[in-house]
């Protein structure tokens, strides 16, 4: 018989102490960044009605990529595949009449069924923010700045955030006199980055030379501020020009923060997701073949839940960031268990009271559960890299074994009444 109880299903796995520790460290850091800009955390359920994620105007997750199951009343439920639609629902229903802007943040898992054998995790831990109720370049900039700030807090330095504007390409598409069908095909080809097909369609359709040139050069519309100046020069339609203006203003604000070195522009970026309406951005870092940040402006999503509110936000793929921190051995501050407290029966009460006092000062203390054999306890404490073992012989007499530093190996006799409880960190 197959034994399925010894391994996890494909695409999900256990987090062992080291990873779990880094996860909570990173979570705390990022939570602090979000809070420092006034964002409040909300939590949405792990599963919801399928439509929340699949509806073309809401989540746009391909139903094939979702974990689905049937509720007892016959409705179809799905595990959360995207964090944003539920937040949009919360914004529309709970905060419908609240003064704008609304600043919400979240932490949680999303599940997506990726094809087998592609080496991709099917459960992803994400964090993100949504800034709701304002459509302005300042709001866009705030969100981008928080994304940079969050990544820096995790210890990453060599990342890049690429910004596009979906209106730019829409404007160019409108400038052509192509049929709706052809426009749609072209849009899809650009979204899928299939530039070979783009070129073929352009050749077949006999577009004016200047527009042709823009299409052919789309993959090159990538770079620093100069690319915006170049694009401004070669576009004629108002929609595209306005979108470039928007990016230029955005850049200026990011410059005030000194974060411009983390920013590049990619005007060929359009999204498969129907919900983006303005800026769109992705963050990348060396060592991960996929993006670790994705976000943008989605002014029509909240309205799908009955209250029109513009919004901009992003999500960070924390699972990938955590793996990278481990791979690159980036230092994080962690607290170690400092001492093991063990005792002979006669010293039990004093030992437990002492351990309680130590913990109250913020130290991490383990109780010895291996009986009163001091050597056994010392061996165990060494295996966990602790610095001290305190062995209570009775209410008053204690043996203290030093395990680290210059005094390692020595055993001192001390009195319980002499035991001073140091403040956190000093030892």
């Amino acid at each position: 018989m197959r034994n399925n109880s010894l391994h996890t299903p494909v695409g999900v796995r256990d987090l062992l102490p080291k990873e779990s520790e880094i996860k909570s460290f990173v979570t705390k850091k990022i939570e602090n960044v979000f809070k420092s800009y006034g964002f409040e955390t909300v939590e949405s359920p792990e599963f919801e009605f399928l439509e929340v994620f699949s509806d073309e105007n809401k989540g746009s997750t391909d139903p094939k990529q979702m974990y689905k199951f049937i509720e007892r009343d016959g409705s179809t439920l799905a595990l959360r595949s995207d964090m944003t639609p539920p937040i949009a629902r919360i914004a529309a229903t709970v905060y419908g009449d609240t003064e704008d802007p609304i600043r919400l943040s979240y932490f949680g898992n999303t599940c997506r069924y990726y094809e087998e054998y592609q080496g991709r995790a099917r459960q992803e831990y994400q964090a993100g923010i949504e800034l709701i109720g304002v459509n302005s370049v300042e709001a866009d900039a705030e969100v981008l700045v928080i994304a940079v700030n969050s990544l820096l807090e995790t210890g990453l330095t060599d990342f890049n955030i690429t910004i596009g504007q979906v209106e730019f390409f829409k404007g160019i598409l409108e400038e052509t006199n192509l049929s709706q069908d052809d426009k749609r095909t072209l849009y899809e080809c650009v979204a899928q980055r299939d530039y070979v097909s783009v070129e073929k369609i352009i050749e077949e359709k006999n577009l004016p030379e200047d527009i042709k040139e823009i299409f052919i050069n789309l993959p090159k519309m990538y770079g620093d501020f100069e690319i915006l100046e170049y694009a401004q020069k070669i576009t004629k339609n108002e929609v595209s020009k306005k979108s470039i203006q928007n990016l230029m203003e955005l850049y200026k604000i990011i410059e005030y923060y000194g974060y411009e070195k983390y920013i590049t522009f990619d005007l060929s970026m359009v999204s498969n997701l129907n919900y983006y309406t303005g800026i769109i951005f992705r963050g990348y870092t060396e060592g991960i073949g996929y993006h670790i940040v994705s976000g943008g402006r989605y002014d029509n999503l909240v309205g799908q839940y009955g209250k029109n509110k513009e919004a901009v936000g992003f999500s960070l793929k924390l699972s990938d960031i955590i793996s990278l921190i481990i791979k690159k051995d980036i230092e994080i501050e962690t607290k170690k268990i400092t001492a093991l407290i063990c005792y002979k029966k006669e010293g039990m009460k004093s030992a437990l009271l002492a351990s309680k006092k130590f913990r109250e000062t913020g130290l991490y203390i383990e109780n010895g559960l291996l009986g009163d054999d001091l050597n056994k306890n010392i061996e165990y404490a060494k295996s966990k890299n602790m610095s001290h073992v305190l062995y209570f012989l009775d209410d008053e007499n204690i043996k203290m074994a030093m395990l680290t530093g210059e005094a390692a190996g020595t055993i001192l006799y001390i009195k319980n009444s002499d035991l001073t409880v140091n403040s956190e960190g000093d030892d």
């Binding site: 980055r193 993959p219 990348y284």
Partner: protein
């Protein structure tokens, strides 16, 4: 400067691709010696290349293990990965077609048509999404022409270059699905981090094809 890594589909295509590279001045001298090496380098341009099975090229490129891949459009369609498709090298030109015995023409639109193929995703896309026709797809791993002859399927979906193999087996082309040729694909992140180097190579290749 980091190495730019290319994954090339093994076989005739890789030979022709290397000829193109030579034309634009990128040579891999260590490749000409007969050796068991799997990875070859050009120190001048800091380029590494390796050969892999064609259907694995999209996997290497999507994951970022290779920055750039050179692979047939058939594999790109079948694997359907998240990649940039940058350039048609116009090498290895051929077609994806539906083929079968002549009498299969009469049942080509039936919704119980049995289709044998090495490319189930392409077959599915063509019949279900484009023709809106329900068919039964049977995945084979080789010698697909055999299927209609021995009666496993009514038709096949496969690549033809000259059509000689089909004729030799008493089969004929029944419908075209799409033209195929070799493409340059790139990883999404590499397109950001190595944008200029990649686009320079693309521009140079464009001039020699």
């Amino acid at each position: 400067m980091e190495y730019l890594t290319f994954a090339l589909a093994k076989g005739r295509l890789s030979e022709k691709t290397l000829e193109l590279f030579e034309k634009i001045g990128i040579c891999f001298d260590d490749m000409k010696e007969k050796s068991r090496k799997l990875i070859f380098t050009n120190e001048e341009y800091k380029i590494k290349i390796f050969l892999s099975k064609s259907s694995d090229v999209p996997t290497y490129v999507e994951s970022g293990t290779a920055d750039i891949g050179i692979v047939g459009k058939d594999t790109i369609l079948e694997e359907n990965r998240n990649l940039y498709e940058l350039l048609d090298l116009k090498l290895g030109k051929c077609k994806m077609i539906v083929a079968g015995k002549e009498e299969a023409l009469k049942i080509l639109d039936n919704n119980d048509l049995r289709v044998a193929t090495k490319y189930p995703n392409i077959a599915k896309d063509y019949f279900f999404k484009q023709k809106h026709q329900t068919v039964e797809i049977i995945k084979l791993n080789g010698s697909v022409e055999l299927a209609p002859i021995v009666g496993l399927s009514d038709v096949i979906v496969d690549i033809v270059e000259t059509g000689n193999t089909l004729i030799a087996n008493g089969l004929m082309p029944l419908a075209d699905i799409c033209p195929l040729s070799a493409r340059v694909v790139a990883n999404r992140v590499s397109m950001k981090t190595e944008h200029k180097r990649i686009m320079d190579i693309i521009d140079k290749l464009r001039e020699v094809i």
